[in-house]
């Protein structure tokens, strides 16, 4: 072909390649800025008062910052006490909420040491540039980058010479004493949590509408699964366990693929969102009560909610002693309690066979339409099918003990641990609690979805039968047929 053709094509190609190289190096798009919004309920209450909406949003921004720059406001009292809730080590001193003990912090650092062993080894070897190529949490990558910038800027030079020992100390500290800032945790939240739990923690992210059960709305301050005796706000440990282990068989997975530091960090941020939501509601109702919001309202709600969340004296359900063995007698006793309307009364919702189909699982509204009972968030709630043996928050005896003892927050599941009968005696004295626990656990025995078939397959492997032929799923778990047989 003619020369111009080729010249033009090569020029165009070179231009393309140049574009590719230049844009490829530094191009790093960001997520657009977001803003916290009022909850739908509060918005409805304040529909006629847009200026109050703005006031509340402004106050909340002062207290809790923005999604890009979240923070807890430091009051003047706190400042004079040297107490800063934005930094996780705050409880290390004498005062504070008691969220992080020294031991917990040490455990956190030990976890970091194990996780970043490769990077630490590189620091020891003096190969600082290679550290960035090891697997570091995203937030730590930023911290490390900043450290290296400091190094390049000569921050570790003494008398014009690079002080390697000082730098090594600092590098080690950066890696081991890593704990994300609230801002970094908010970024983590945006990446991992936001699409379900929503920007303001309302459980209303874009994915949420496809999920059942719906993601938690933090702003009510009610969390279903805690280890606490009364309906107190959850401890850090309760939230952390949910983040780390997930809520089984729901869309909330285990986030164990991240380190303890990051998960604790995101727990901090979830607590911030929850507190922010609660203050928002308090301010809304303060306005509805008094037609105005005073600065005192704001600071009072802020401190109140903070105290409530960081209260170190919450009652944790424990059992002092050995768990009694699940003897047939105890299980039979459990069955009795399960069926006794004056005692457990479990059957009324969970059904006589534990299938989650008791009569009280439905209610009839004024139009005579039968529908499922609702939880505090106004969603349908389905009593657990105990026969499946799958429990959202653990199937350990103590987990089920706690569920029966304290109920499930925000749901019609009552707590029986402190209930008394007509005579004022404990409803479930002595081993009765455990009888119920063991009975509930026995319902799921050999029944949680694999039953006998897995074993016939395994046997089939030894006996030389094609596994495909034996793949037919168990009939057992079909709700109507079973369970009764398990009911001893």
């Amino acid at each position: 072909m003619d020369l111009t053709t080729c010249r033009r094509s090569s020029a165009a190609l070179l231009a393309g390649a140049a574009l590719l190289l230049t844009s490829g190096c530094d191009f790093e798009p960001h997520a657009a800025d977001r803003e916290y919004a009022l909850s739908e309920n509060n918005l409805g209450e304040l529909a006629d008062a847009p200026d109050v909406q703005a006031t509340i949003l402004g106050a909340l921004e002062m207290l809790y910052g923005t999604p890009q720059e979240p923070k807890f406001m430091v009051t003047s009292d706190w400042r004079s006490d040297g107490y800063n809730p934005n930094w996780p080590t705050y409880p290390k001193g004498e005062d504070g909420g008691g969220d992080f003990t020294d031991e917990q912090l040490d455990a956190l650092y030990a976890d970091n040491t194990a996780r970043h062993a490769e990077a630490l080894a590189l620091v020891e070897a003096g190969d600082y540039d290679a550290v960035a190529d090891t697997y570091l949490p995203q937030a730590l990558v930023q911290n490390w980058k900043r450290l290296m910038e400091d190094k390049a800027a000569g921050q570790f030079d003494t008398d014009g010479k690079f002080d390697e020992a000082a730098f090594k100390d600092e590098a080690r500290r950066t890696l081991v004493e890593f704990y994300p800032t609230l801002r970094q945790s908010a970024d983590f939240y945006r990446r991992e949590c936001l699409h379900c739990h929503g920007n303001s923690g309302g459980g209303d992210g874009p994915t949420a509408r496809f999920l059942s059960p719906l993601p938690r709305d933090y702003r009510k301050g009610v969390f279903k699964f805690t280890a606490l005796a009364d309906k107190a706000t959850p401890r850090r440990e309760d939230l952390f366990r949910i983040v780390a282990e997930g809520v089984y068989t729901t869309a909330m997975p285990s986030f164990r693929r991240f380190g303890d530091a990051e998960l604790n960090g995101v727990t901090d941020y979830v607590r911030l969102l929850a507190m922010r939501g609660e203050v928002e509601t308090r301010l809304t109702y303060a306005f509805l009560d008094a037609e105005s919001i005073t600065p005192d309202d704001v600071s009072e709600s802020y401190l109140d909610v903070w105290a409530k969340w960081t209260d170190p004296n919450k009652e944790v359900i424990t059992f002092d002693g050995e768990i009694p063995a699940p003897t047939p007698e105890l299980i039979a006793r459990g069955r009795e309690l399960f069926m006794d309307p004056a005692k457990g009364n479990c059957f009324s919702c969970h059904g006589e066979q534990g299938l989650g189909n008791g009569a009280s699982a439905w209610e009839t509204d004024s139009d005579g339409v039968k529908h499922r009972i609702k939880d505090d968030w106004g969603h349908d709630i389905i009593p657990r099918n105990l026969v499946r043996g799958v429990f959202r928050f653990g199937r350990k005896p103590i987990d089920i003990y706690r569920r029966i003892y304290a109920g499930i927050n925000g749901t019609p599941m009552p707590g029986l641990g402190k209930s008394t009968d007509a005579n004022g005696d404990p409803l479930l004295p002595g081993d009765d609690m455990w009888a119920l626990v063991h009975y509930v656990r026995s319902l799921g025995e050999k029944e949680d979805g694999f039953g006998l078939d897995a074993f016939s397959v395994v046997e089939a492997m030894d006996g030389g039968v094609d596994p495909l032929q034996h793949g037919a799923p168990h009939e057992g778990a079909n709700d109507e047929h079973h369970g009764g047989a398990q009911a001893h």
């Binding site: 059992f319 050995e322 005896p397 026995s442 025995e445 949680d448 039953g451 030894d462």
Partner: protein
């Protein structure tokens, strides 16, 4: 003339850069994860065997293509070679690849049999039942009575702990949709099929933590369905099980 040069260079770049990429890939970590299981070596051997053969034919054919396009696009007013083919050549380039391919197929069989055939499964009870669900892994161990499906079964999320240098058999289930139990470092992948209980085995040869990845699309959260397989020494394995056991029986007294 320039078109000719350009085209020839492009065609030459394919084998040159193609091979260069593969040669230097390992430096950037763009290469297979290190293998740590008994059949990992065999799989990698077969991979490299095929890689060798494929590279040979890749370079051969791409270089021929480059050379022919360069050589025979020269301005030439004479006619092309008039031929409709050569029986001998056809026989040659049918028989040689056929032989190689049969050989390759033959080489795979024993490894495949070792991985999947029932005869090569370890004897005895499985170590665990593994449950896949949207978007979690759960590992169920037999507990104190050594039997599955009883009240004292132990369960752990996320992390599958197995002893080193022992054949580990487990049974794979799915609670909802199709998932895939995949540990790249073990060269192991098995779909978890709802309605089927599928026995799987492997033997890890090095202590360490290995990523467990769901490799079959299982819904919107597929990308976050992660797990870990932790390979530990025999004692650590016992200690871990004892720890699970004591945690199972804990009464909340120690936090």
């Amino acid at each position: 003339m320039l078109t000719r040069l350009f085209t020839a260079l492009l065609l030459l770049a394919v084998p040159v850069l193609g091979v260069y990429t593969f040669v230097t890939a390992a430096d950037h970590g763009w290469w297979m994860q290190p293998e740590v299981s008994t059949f990992g070596q065999d799989v990698d051997f077969l991979f490299y065997l095929i890689l060798g053969m494929v590279t040979f034919f890749f370079v051969l054919t791409e270089m021929l293509l480059f050379w022919f396009v360069w050589r025979y696009s020269k301005k030439d007013s004479s006619k092309a070679v008039y031929t409709h083919g050569s029986h001998k050549l056809e026989m040659l380039w049918t028989a040689v690849p056929a032989g190689l391919l049969v050989l390759i197929a033959f080489f795979q069989m024993s490894t495949w049999a070792e991985m999947r055939f029932k005869g090569s499964f370890p004897e005895g009870e499985p170590f665990a039942h593994v449950w896949a669900s949207q978007f979690d892994w759960r590992f169920q161990y037999p507990g104190a009575d050594g039997e599955f499906g009883t009240m004292d079964d132990l369960e752990s999320p996320y992390e599958f702990v197995v002893p080193v240098n022992q054949p580990v058999k487990f049974v794979l289930h799915s609670r909802d949709v199709i998932h895939s139990f995949s540990v790249p470092a073990f060269r192991l992948k098995q779909d978890a099929m709802p309605g089927l209980a599928i026995p799987v085995w492997f033997q890890a040869e090095e202590i360490g933590e290995y990523d467990l990845v769901c490799m079959e699309l299982c819904g919107w959260g597929h990308y976050k369905m992660a797990g870990k397989v932790r390979v530990v020494s025999e004692e650590d394995y016992r200690a871990y099980m004892a720890g699970l056991q004591s945690e199972f029986m804990n009464t909340g007294m120690e936090g």
